[in-house]
Symmetry: D2
Subunit: 260 residues, 4 copies
């Protein structure tokens, strides 16, 4: 028997602007990463998304990003480790406010976009993020790219971590994601995407674009909530995982258990 | 024996921009209202100000404002009650994050500028703010203009409230502050300002500009932290209060006690 | 023979956020009001929208709004006349930069949302906006609600003005638009909307919700570019106007001509 | 006889926040680089600073920066060349609006902070900026670090360029500025700073920190307007330059002249 968490970025709308099909996707995932107002989201969207997650029994994570709404947090910025610490505390705190006002509990933190990618490779930045999460609430689970500096930093700081894999992205032989600028970065075929995921969960292996198998730890799978086929894929992957004897559960329910 | 709290708006710098002489003023006040990034402040300033308050044994409050950095939160905006609720939760949550990361406890919430003034008169807005504070943490003390709708709303929602008076502002006979647009809005003479405050604390009376005495409840006194004479006045008023047998203590230490 | 301008708000997307079906709507209108980055739009969207207008032979106007992206410029803010002047100069200048870089000429200015509504009623604000437009370029046409203070202010300041009517909104007997908060604010039936417009153009009359006819000057008609039926309605109204012997032309081509 | 331009960054205040002693410094410089609202400045500050420059007979330049108010435009961001083009057009356009509304003429463009530094080394970015300036107004002078990619890009695009030197910064042997992170980046001694500048103007040489002389072209000298000693230094350097037979004139008055 295998267990895995299924997460999705949520609450990425802003004011009158809508991104993502949160209401439909929320039915399929087990953990929701909710934007905190820096790269996306605003207080009203955050409250609604927190409520939506609670109604659907989905566990909630903060999804802090760089202060770059017009770039959706995807443009790398040179920030100091201290600035990273500060902006992560701020954003987690803000989301935690909504979660607690609704009587819920925050489960995890997953940095967004360029902050996620930078923290995968830059250890001082990863340390600052891990320390911010720990200082705010040491019971939070830190999400990071499987095999990344962020996962190592989280463990070093005494946090529970969740190694994340992507269903629709290809991997390099060093375990990093193929850059979105490359033509072969995305896996658009649903069957192929699901096949990659199931192998990552069961065999802890993935085939890099260099055609070699590498080891990978898949504790949580990221799916995307925008795009026309997002809901179809959510439906497809949850069904496929269950059919393959892989149980879907929120990370907080099984992380730290033996053999996982 | 009389007891009163002395509060000041703090952490109003932003990035490279500096406002206020926080380090000096912090030595005199008992409660600090820390800006939360909407009308002033940013994550790094918030952390530094929280640390400064803790080092000085000053209790911390969130100071949420309208989303108007260029107007410093002083321009009234027509926001819905729901938007007010949401932006208050967001900002308190963000500040609470820093306070808890530093091992401290949030004491109070005081709306800023136009939000403070609007909440003094508009009951639905006052209710939304009071509900946000209560939902997030019912042990928080809500600061509001003495005699205002915000104080009533806080009490109705089950919150402890702190009736605030201003040392350097004149009052109208209905208990409201004279608008800053009026020539006689400000009291610039330090002796006169302190005399007004002491009478408010001891006699629970203030003379309105219409030259009539009105009743007023003075549980916390607001002083200002910017301007050339701010530090001098802080020194002056704290000395004068103590000399008049008025003890300065953080509101959380005495609010709810009998006879207060 | 009748002539009228047909305008639509355009370029209201922001970063990764998309609002409006500009590419399709641009085929039908004669004037485009392009957002300038305060309530909507960003530099990249502005450039693309300017190019799209030029490619389609559509004349360009600046569409300045309040600095309130999260409220889409629809929340009234108390700004001073001087602040209004400054923010209008800034936004027109920014858009003019793109228009001139593309070798085009700016035709008009139309305030957005709450700024438009406030300027319809508050003469000092209307004067500040009219003066900003005149100071920047006295050949620009100022759009305002037909019969509003903004139209009068524009004329007083020596500007050409365009009296605007709305196809899908109902009118009060004082010539103002019915507030969007009222249930009967919008005309959703396409036939009824077009009938109202044709009568405004030909007879210079409209029936207010109080069931009385009022005089109205229709030099430019506003249609909306978002919503599922926007493109259908654009197609429908342009066909209906032409069939009714009403020619569609950019306001700059006929404003100031005799009998108009 | 030697001629040089003396420039200073101006208009860097924002809302209630004040940076720089513009009113005093404006008496000494010949060209003012005015912030355009992205990294500093706002519409009201821009108008006041434009007026102040015109009153003092100082020529005006746009000073566009990265969209990062909290980082004052000093944090490098990975933006595309197209984004750079767009944000430069936007900001120049906005400032040009104020200049033209006041009856003036824009003289030059100088990128700010991280954008300036990135454009000194990254040719595609430099090209995008040069193209934006040229497309908007080919008569504008482009300021760039002496010997940088930005100067070359400006010349290639057909712009007049102004090679800028810094009075208070040390140089590397490749002609770049010593990073502010290095202890020897700044020259704090006024006499030494002025000596370096005079030699750059007269001998076209500067001694790099590696203790070798390098060639340098000094058409405009940058001084700083904030800090306690800024006004003193402005006074000191202008007096010293004149005493050394170096005339101070706005770059637009002499650029392109023979032998310069």
């Amino acid at each position: 028997m295998y267990i895995v968490d299924l997460n999705c970025d949520m609450g990425e709308s802003f004011g009158s602007y809508k991104i993502g099909r949160d209401e439909e996707i929320m039915k399929y995932v087990t953990s929701a990463n909710i934007a905190c107002g820096f790269h996306a989201g605003d207080p009203s969207i955050m409250k609604k998304t927190v409520r939506l997650a609670i109604e659907n029994g989905v566990r909630i994570g903060a999804h802090p990003g760089l202060p770059d709404l017009s770039g959706f947090g995807r443009r790398p910025m040179e920030i100091s480790s201290e600035e990273a610490y500060d902006m992560v505390i701020y954003q987690i705190g803000a989301l935690k406010g909504f979660v607690e006002a609704e009587g819920g509990t925050l489960q995890h933190v997953k940095p967004h976009g360029a902050l996620f990618n930078m923290a995968a490779k830059q250890r001082p930045l990863a340390n600052a993020i891990a320390k911010a999460v720990y200082d705010l609430d040491p019971s939070l689970v830190l999400f990071g790219l499987a095999g990344s500096q962020l996962i190592e930093a989280g463990q070093q700081h005494g946090l529970k971590t969740a190694s994340e894999v992507f269903s629709d992205r290809t991997y390099q032989e060093d375990g990093s994601l193929t850059s979105r600028r490359e033509p072969n970065a995305l896996i658009t075929d649903h069957e192929q995407a699901v096949h990659q995921v199931i192998r990552m969960v069961k065999e802890k292996k993935v085939t890099a674009v260099q055609n070699v198998d590498i080891d990978i730890n898949a504790q949580t799978i990221c799916i995307h909530g925008d795009g026309e086929r997002a809901v179809d894929f959510a439906k497809y992957i949850t069904h496929a995982l269950k059919s393959s004897n892989i149980e879907l559960r929120s990370i907080g329910e099984f992380i730290g258990h033996k053999n996982i």
